[in-house]
Symmetry: C2
Subunit: 354 residues, 2 copies
């Protein structure tokens, strides 16, 4: 793929998700772990876009506490030091995207940004670049573009995009009519039947100039604070007062200008829970995924994940057993989202295992 | 309780049971562990009989590989060095009992032996000594006495004693009519209804002279090999050829001379499985037993056992989670007997975790 000289990446690497606990931790969330494969998810994200975007145009935005780990993990990708933006604290994605857009707009007023989470899996790299190219084409026509994933189950933990095809200038464009965050199971089932709905992947492509205008309109406070290039002293001063708000909720749900590109066949997973792994990793004949030194007797549909320690699993069905040197999780797979409650308890108790 | 100068103890400490894996190991089976309380089960066994039997009359028979650990754990009980009998290899209980009986018979021809496993729990110590005294009385009248436990559930993993009351010399004696090893569930339920059945506790009391005569009759090969006091050189020479056979199966099931003493209220558990712990340890309101650093969310009827590591248990019901530094077991509690299969695999693979 020829590199598009207007295309920049903004990699979101500040999240401290809890849903892969105990493997992911506050001090080392999942984008910095190699859940699958040899490289960490952040490194996989960089490797995936390398053919399309040169290092000088890749920006990474993260929490200041992850500054060192980002530098370590990205060293081999030759990302310029100044391209790692360190948020004084986590404010969700809207302030981060606005700040990054302002910086890039200053470098290249014609820039197109690909905003990409750093903690998702995408197996179909070539296919992904093709989808990205299509999204860039639409973004150059001033759309806010979101990559939509074809839903494969009535997942209630995701956001959904409702789309409608429109004929614009002789071309079919899939416009986003509505965002629905975490629907009921009933609604999610209806969504799947209509075939008009996609999962919101959290991957967005737009011109920096276009998104900044949208910030000016829908999040003027954020825009005023970080919508123009500014030094770190300024950022540190204003950041604390910014709202915690996502770019989806703060901008895209309100904008009339959002188009979707179906990301068919890219082999995507947001790794949103231990259960989500069961959709992407190979299973044995009984539906088990067994990673590590495991003796399984009469187990079915079970995920066992261990580092060095021997795990004996006997008579388990639909369970998840996740072992790390200092913490172990055991739960039915379908309860794996509830690991958040565990992390909440650990956080309240100020435990180092959080 | 006044010490009975004819009463000797033979503590059986050679077992290498696998059912408490991964906490118990081949190199450190459960009699050498403090599963419950501050002392090991072997030490508890010694402490329990101390009021009735002086150290000089307590014998411990164990596998030679456990010689050092027995010496360490019994040092404070002042057991004479010569009273620790080291079997060249495990041959089940019959050869061990015959050898011990021969040695003690040589010391005191009028001796009464209390043969006691070292890996059972008995909470009611005073009550136990009372039952023991009763058994000694019968043994002095030349019965082979077995302590019977009132069954509380139709357990299929135990041996049962069928008893019948007989009036002998103006006294009601409960004679054992039949031994039934591991009945079907149907049979076990029938046994419970008749009220004539007891669990075989594996605790026996008999005169050394009487049991030696029974050996002569029912296991003459064992008797010829180890039925007279002999030096270790002799034992080492003959031991290898002895059959692996239990005293229950080899002698008591055949003898016409077995009486039972109901061991009511002694708070007994053979700790035959992780599940068995749930009968004796205190539970929380939801029926959980949680030992160690555990965060339990929505768990019921579950046993979680850990040393130093944090365990998060979410949404578990009827499960057992047993963690040790190098091995972890997860299974439904009712499958906890099947841990044997795991140990078999480990043994075949010659794994150090067995």
């Amino acid at each position: 793929m020829p590199k598009n000289t207007n295309l920049f990446a903004v990699i979101l690497a500040g999240g401290s998700g809890t849903r892969f606990w105990p493997v992911s931790r506050k001090s080392r969330p999942k984008q910095f772990l190699n859940i699958v494969g040899k490289r960490t998810l952040l490194q996989e994200t960089l490797a995936r876009i390398q053919p399309a975007i040169s290092a000088a145009r890749i920006f990474i935005i993260t929490d200041v506490t992850y500054g060192n780990i980002v530098k370590q993990q990205t060293a081999r990708f030759k990302i310029p030091k100044d391209n790692v933006l360190l948020e004084p604290e986590g404010k969700n994605t809207a302030p981060a995207v606005c700040w990054a857009a302002a910086i890039i707009q200053h470098i290249d007023p014609g820039a197109v940004l690909a905003v990409l989470p750093s903690d998702h899996l995408i197996f179909g790299r070539k296919r992904f670049l093709k989808v990205l190219r299509e999204a860039v084409g639409l973004a150059q026509r001033n759309y806010l573009v979101t990559l939509g994933i074809h839903p494969t189950r009535p997942e209630t933990g995701y956001g959904y995009l409702k789309t409608a095809k429109k004929n614009i200038g002789g071309k079919q464009i899939m416009m986003v009519e509505r965002f629905t965050e975490k629907p009921s199971l009933l609604k999610a089932k209806q969504f799947l039947r209509t075939k008009k709905y996609f999962w919101n992947s959290g991957m967005f492509v737009f011109r920096s100039s276009v998104i900044l205008k949208e910030f000016q309109k829908y999040l003027p406070g954020v825009y005023r604070a970080v919508g123009r290039k500014a030094g770190m002293a300024h950022i540190r001063r204003v950041w604390k007062r910014l709202p915690k708000i996502s770019v989806d909720y703060g901008i895209l749900e309100k904008s009339k200008n959002v188009a979707a590109v179906p990301a068919r066949g890219i082999g995507w997973s947001d790794l949103g829970s231990w259960e989500s792994l069961t959709e992407i990793l190979p299973k044995d004949q009984r539906g088990n995924i067994l990673k590590g030194d495991i003796i399984a007797v009469d187990c079915r549909d079970t995920l066992v994940w261990t580092g060095r320690k021997l795990i004996a699993a006997v008579g388990l069905e639909g369970m998840a057993v996740i072992d790390t040197p200092d913490a172990l999780l055991v739960c039915p797979k379908e309860r794996s989202q509830d690991v958040r409650e565990v992390v909440n308890v650990l956080t309240k108790k100020n435990r180092r295992e959080r």
